[in-house]
Amino acid sequence: MEEKAVGCARPISKIEKTPQAQPEQINTKEKIMDIVRVGHKAPDFEAPAYYKGGFTSVKLSDFKGKWVVLCFYPGDFTFV
């Protein structure tokens, strides 16, 4: 069997959207405005988290007054 490169993509369902659900232009504009830029405020968020042996949640704005490094990565148990 031919070996495939092991990536970290996840399967995504490809359900076609019904044509009526198309306020696409508005969405696109909102999307652009949401995207972060240097020199601008970092968008706030709250997310569930694992931290020092317990489950908690983490909110960016709770770190006001501190330097924060926010890192995203493709997935747990991936190779790099």
């Binding site: 990536g7 970290c8 996840r10 995207i35 330097w67 490094v69 926010l70 493709p74 997935g75 790099v80």
Partner: protein, 131 residues
């Protein structure tokens, strides 16, 4: 932060990362299952359902000062992130009166922006000596 749940984060810490680093992960491992946070930060890849290696330095006022985004197969270099934080902290401490040229590290030459420096950076800073 990744699209994995906080539960998978725990197992990854316990089974692999803690063995690699010989200590537990000392910071929050946040879960962004639906990619909403990643989308706001422009690092969510809808086609693959995962997040790119996005790294954001956010200052004490909540302002993004630096960002770096890599595709999955290449890892980051931590020393560069630390260098950038040190440089931004220096600039902040001096309220922008001192800035950090290319390759700056703590102890290396800084520049003081002003009329006297216009056209004279070459006298103050050398890519060969000061970089």
């Amino acid at each position: 932060m990744s699209v994995d749940s906080q539960f998978v984060h725990k197992v990854w810490n316990d089974q692999e990362l803690s063995k690699m680093a010989e200590r537990d992960v000392p910071f929050h491992m946040a879960s962004d299952g639906a990619g909403h946070v990643g989308s706001m930060y422009g690092v969510y890849d809808e086609a693959a359902g995962v997040e790119f290696r996005g790294r954001f330095i956010i200052d004490p006022d909540g302002v993004v000062q630096a960002m770096e985004v890599l595709t999955p197969p290449v890892g980051r270099k931590l020393e560069e992130t630390i260098r950038q934080i040190q440089a931004y902290q220096h600039v902040r401490k001096h309220k922008g009166a001192e800035v950090c040229p290319a390759g700056w590290e703590p102890g290396k030459k800084i520049l003081k922006p002003g009329t006297a420096l216009v056209g004279n950076v070459w006298k103050e800073w050398s890519p060969l000596k000061d970089h």
